[in-house]
Each structure stands twice: as structure tokens, then as C-alpha cells.
């Protein structure tokens, strides 16, 4: 039984729809990756599913309830969101930032309970950021900062975590570090992960389920083997791709690609 799905979801204003009648199911306890060219509506879809932006018609359904009508605090205990490259106030410490993940569980002036402190420490440990606890967030490197934000999402104790391009602006090693952390959370903690990624090979390597978008509709959704194919990549990115098998992971990978000439 799929917990989260969209039903004929349309997003946009008036006649200008960014996403039109999109229905997708997010498999439980798997890593789902949304791919597609710039401007295809990947981030928009992610934001609509997580109620950051409202949609025009259709519905997002979580546990049988319409997300648009559900209490936002209850939702915040079920799904956490890491927006694209969030900035933090200067001087904010790592411990403080992660403690804000407990916001949905607090009332009134928000005094942290013993349980809150335990969860915060656990989230820091999971993301290997305990040693930064008292450092200002803006003194950290890009990769460390991303891990701290993931720790905040973890402190929210949600089964589902959404991330919008979590590897942007990171070098290759740090990209891998973030993705491996997410994989570990999926495998060990059984978290459902939904993320937008730019890199096809990273998507193929880490995702169980890939949703390929183009111009606001789904070209193909399925396993890596079903989506990372010559035909789908032509349809989505308009590229002529050479698909091979990654000798280390056994997953499909795009070895080389060209633009289709004369078809712009």
C-alpha cells in the first residue's frame, strides 16, 4: 500500500500550467529520484507535494488524507523538507539549527524536553556532525553544512524526507558523502527519501525508483533499468546516450552522450 501519491496534480496559474494532470506514486521506504531538464517542473513538483506551494487542481494524498487540507503540524511530523541551498542566519550554531527540527513537537514557547535533546544528539551523530555542535553554521564547508541541514530534517523524526538538489555546489567527494548518508538513512532507518537530482548517474546509482519529467509531465517512471535507457533519455533530455553497466554497482549508467543534431 503506497502511502504517498499525487492524483491528477496540476500546478501553475491560470492557463500557464507548470505541471499538468500528474499522477505519481512514491514507493514506501525507497529512494525516489526526480530527474529532468531545467525548467521541467522537478522542484515545482517537490514543493507542491510538500505543500510549500499550492496546486491548482488534483490532490496530493498522504496516508489517505489530502495534504492541502491536513493540519500542517501533523504533516511536519510525517515529512521533512530540505529546500535547495538554504541559507542560515549568521551566527546560528549547528546545535541551534538542528534543534529547530523539533519545532513540530513543541508547544508554547518551545522549551526543549529531554526527549528533544536525545533526538538532536542522535541526529547529529547520524550525520557525523556532533563535533560541530557549538560552531556557527556559516563557518562550515558546503558539504558539512548540507549534512547539518539533513540532521535538522532528521531531528524532525519523519518517515519521509524530501530534498531539492542536495548535491548542488558540492564537489564530487562531498556529493557522494551526502548521497551515501541518504542511502544509509534509507537502509538502516527505513526512511522514504524523495529527491531532485541533476546527475543521471547518481540518480541511477542511488535511486530505487526514478521519475523522469519533461515539460511538466512524466515521460517514464520506474526502476533504474526501466528509466535509464536510450529511448527515455532521448525523450527527456533530447540526448543520444550510450548506456552501459557500472562495473562496481551493476546499475545502468550513461557512459557518453551527444546532442541530437538539428533537433533543438
Amino acid at each position: 500500500m503506497v502511502r504517498l501519491y499525487t492524483d491528477d496534480l496540476s500546478i501553475g496559474y491560470g492557463e500557464q500550467l507548470i505541471i499538468k494532470d500528474l499522477s505519481v506514486q512514491i514507493p514506501n521506504q525507497k529512494i525516489t529520484t526526480i530527474i529532468g531538464p531545467n525548467g521541467c517542473g522537478k522542484s515545482t513538483l517537490l514543493k507542491a507535494i510538500t505543500r510549500i506551494i499550492s496546486h491548482q487542481s488534483g490532490a496530493v494524498v498522504l496516508d489517505g488524507k489530502n495534504v492541502a487540507k491536513e493540519n500542517t503540524k501533523i504533516l511536519a511530523k510525517k515529512m521533512a523538507i530540505l529546500p535547495q541551498t538554504p541559507e542560515s542566519a549568521s551566527g546560528l550554531t549547528v546545535g541551534e539549527l538542528v534543534s529547530y527540527g523539533r519545532f513540530p513537537y513543541q508547544t508554547g514557547f518551545g522549551r526543549l524536553s529531554k526527549k528533544d535533546y536525545e533526538v538532536i544528539d542522535w541526529a547529529l551523530q547520524m550525520t557525523n556532525t556532533s563535533s560541530f555542535k557549538y560552531l556557527p553554521v556559516d563557518s562550515l564547508s558546503g558539504g558539512q553544512r548540507q549534512r547539518v541541514w539533513i540532521a535538522m530534517a532528521l531531528a524532525q523524526e519523519t518517515e519521509i524526507i524530501f530534498l531539492d538538489e542536495p548535491t548542488t555546489y558540492l564537489d564530487m567527494a562531498h556529493q557522494l558523502e551526502v548521497l551515501e548518508l541518504l542511502q544509509q538513512l534509507n537502509k538502516e532507518e527505513k526512511r522514504t527519501i524523495v529527491m531532485v537530482l541533476h546527475d543521471l548517474n547518481q540518480a541511477a546509482r542511488f535511486a530505487d525508483y526514478i521519475v523522469a519529467l519533461k515539460a511538466g509531465h512524466i515521460v517514464k517512471a520506474g526502476s533504474c533499468e526501466e528509466v535509464i535507457t536510450k529511448e527515455v533519455l532521448r525523450g527527456v533530455f533530447n540526448i543520444d546516450a550510450e548506456i552501459g553497466i557500472d562495473p562496481r554497482t551493476g546499475k545502468p549508467m550513461c557512459i557518453s552522450y551527444d546532442l541530437f543534431k538539428g533537433e533543438k
Binding site: 514543493k47 510538500t50 505543500r51 510549500i52 500542517t72 503540524k73 501533523i74 504533516l75 511536519a76 511530523k77 515529512m79 521533512a80 523538507i81 530540505l82 529546500p83 538554504p86 541559507e87 542560515s88 542566519a89 549568521s90 551566527g91 546560528l92 550554531t93 546545535g95 541551534e96 539549527l97 534543534s99 529547530y100 527540527g101 519545532f103 513540530p104 513543541q106 514557547f109 518551545g110 522549551r111 526543549l112 524532525q156
Partner: protein, 345 residues
């Protein structure tokens, strides 16, 4: 001190909470000292003993009456306005994540000013309550105009663009106020209200205005935790389960109350709301549960200081307190522009 414990307990660690109580108490001591200084020094210098008698006895004499009826209401007004503008500035900076936000720079003050002029022109003999309400409406209109212009271009909420919009809208609204003043031959009345600063503040005015400022500050304290989350990032706030539209609406009303009430009391006053939150952040960090109460104290101290300087720097003439604040505020503004909001780093 129950109040103190209430606000300190909720911090992340016991250590920082003790640190904050200490800073808060030191701030309060500074405030009392500054209040004492401002009461003693002035065109007619008085002694500490007179001040004591004026505050805590029924003794009547000329110098004590001056203190009771002229200087005391004036310094109480300085405390209220300083606190109100500082809190309004802190809220605006938090909500817009714009380090240059200030009620005086973003059209609220000039809007209240224009509304004041129009209400004096159209409703002869309008009472003080009516003027206060007009100031609230004007502040709201000014703010909506500035943010409306800022939002016209996509991605338009850049700090400097908003400040430019604020400058343009303020110039326009001041021109309206001047125009109305000249046309209806009431410019003297208008300038008495708006440029008078703290001179001539009466107890009856304070009675009228102080509930609005108190209400604004209390609601700001209640919403301070929401403001901290909102100041991080709007999408993060939604993700954490905040009703952001509702929170922002409440905070907007609080800012309008505080800025409008300040104009009704002292007229135009820029830079207090800009400077104080930056200074306070350097002392207590980025949590608005600490920033708001500390801004109350620091704003009050700054206004008392500016008013005392204004009264004593060129005796027997008064230097307008707005000018004193502007002299301090402008360099501050330039530093913030240059450092992108990180003044003390």
C-alpha cells in the same frame, strides 16, 4: 524576576540561559543608569535627590514639577518609542531576512506621517486617538506600497531594492504631507507633530499610546519563536509546520502598531529599528526569543542616550533627537550595506 526565568528556561542549554539572564540583567542596569542620567541632565540641571523626590514623593517645588511634568513623560516616551522601534525593526529584519529593514527606511514612518497630515487637514479638531488610528493606517499603506513596488519585479525582494523603493515611497509620502500642509495652511501643526521629537510629550499622550506599544511588544514576545523559524527560510518554516501566512500577518500587524504608535508620539524617527537589532544580535545571537526582549532594553537605552545628548549638547537650544539618531545611524547603515548584514563579524 519570574519574567526572566520564563524567558531564559527555553534556551537550548542551561549555560546559554544563564548567560542570557546575566546579559538581560546587565542591560536592565544600564537602562536604569541611563534613565537616571537623562533625568538629571538637561537645560535645567537637577540633582539626583530632586529626581528621587519627583519619582517617589509628594514634595512640590519648581524644579521637581519640571521633572514630573516635562522631563519624566519625555523620558518615558523615549523608552517606549525606542523599545517599539527596535522591536519593529527586529521583526521586519527577521520576516524579510533583510538586514536593512527599518520602519523609518521602508515607508512605515512616512506613511504614518502623511496620514497624520491628511487627517489634520480633513478632520479639524481631530483628537489624539483619531491621530493615532490614522498613523496605524498610514504605516500600513506605506509598508504595502514599498513591498508592492519591491515585488513588482521577479525576485525583487533584494535588500537594496527594497530600501530604494522605501526611499522613493518615503519621498513621495513626505511630499504629500508637505503638500497637504501647505494647501490647507496647517504645515505648522503638521510639523509640530512630526518634527517635534520628544519635546512636549504629555502624560495624556502617553496614556493613549502606551497600551498599543505594550500590546505590540507582548504579541512580539509570544510570536518570537515563530519568528526565529521564519527568519531561517520560509520553505523551512512551512516544512516545520508553521502557518507562515498567519504568522506573517500577525507580525505585520504588530509592526504597524509599534511604528504607527511611535509616529503618533514622536514623529519621524529612522535608524533605531535598523541599528538596535544588529547590536543585540551581536550580544545574544540569532534566536528571536532572546533578540526581542533584549531589543526592548537596547532600544530604550539608545533613545534615552540620543535624547539626553540632544538636550545637553547645545544648551539652551535643543538638537532634534532624530538628527542625533541619524548621525549615529547613517554610518551604521553604510557598514551593513558593505558587510551584507554581518556587522560585528
Amino acid at each position: 524576576m519570574g519574567f526572566l526565568r520564563y524567558f531564559c528556561r527555553k534556551d537550548t542549554t542551561m549555560k546559554t540561559s544563564i548567560q542570557f539572564s546575566l546579559k538581560f540583567v546587565i542591560g536592565l542596569i544600564f537602562l536604569f543608569v541611563m534613565f537616571g542620567i537623562s533625568m538629571v541632565y538637561g537645560a535645567a540641571s537637577t540633582s539626583l535627590q530632586d529626581v528621587w523626590q519627583a519619582l517617589f514623593s509628594n514634595v512640590k517645588s519648581d524644579s521637581i514639577n519640571i521633572l514630573r511634568e516635562l522631563r519624566l513623560p519625555r523620558e518615558v516616551a523615549a523608552i517606549l518609542v525606542g523599545a517599539a522601534l527596535a522591536v519593529a525593526g527586529a521583526i521586519m529584519q527577521g520576516v524579510t531576512r533583510n538586514p536593512l529593514a527599518d520602519p523609518g527606511l521602508l515607508g512605515l514612518t512616512s506613511g504614518a506621517n502623511a496620514a497624520l497630515a491628511i487627517s489634520l487637514a480633513l478632520i479639524p479638531g481631530i483628537n489624539y486617538f483619531g491621530i493615532t488610528i490614522a498613523c496605524f493606517i498610514g504605516a500600513a499603506v506605506g509598508a504595502v506600497m514599498v513591498f508592492g513596488i519591491g515585488a513588482m519585479k521577479k525576485g525583487g525582494f533584494s535588500p537594496l531594492r527594497i530600501v530604494l523603493a522605501g526611499a522613493a515611497v518615503s519621498a513621495f509620502l513626505y511630499a504629500i504631507a508637505d503638500g497637504v500642509g501647505i494647501y490647507f495652511k496647517i504645515s505648522k501643526d503638521v510639523s509640530m507633530w512630526t518634527a517635534g521629537g520628544l519635546i512636549g510629550t504629555s502624560w495624556s499622550q502617553l496614556q493613549m499610546i502606551s497600551p498599543f506599544i505594550a500590546l505590540g511588544i507582548i504579541v512580539a514576545l509570544i510570536l518570537s519563536r515563530q519568528l526565529t523559524i521564519l527568519s531561517l527560510n520560509e520553505e523551512v518554516a512551512v516544512g516545520l509546520g508553521q502557518k507562515t501566512t498567519q504568522t506573517k500577518t500577525f507580525l505585520f500587524v504588530v509592526v504597524i502598531l509599534l511604528a504607527g504608535a511611535s509616529v503618533a508620539l514622536v514623529g519621524n524617527m529612522a535608524f533605531v529599528g535598523l541599528m538596535v537589532p544588529h547590536i543585540v544580535r551581536a550580544i545574544v545571537g540569532t534566536d528571536y526569543r532572546l533578540i526581542i526582549p533584549m531589543s526592548v532594553i537596547a532600544g530604550a537605552i539608545l533613545m534615552l542616550l540620543a535624547d539626553t545628548i540632544g538636550r545637553t549638547i547645545n544648551i539652551p537650544y535643543e538638537t532634534p533627537v532624530a538628527a542625533i539618531i541619524a548621525i549615529m545611524g547613517l554610518p551604521f547603515f553604510l557598514v551593513i550595506v558593505r558587510k551584507g548584514g554581518r556587522v560585528f563579524q
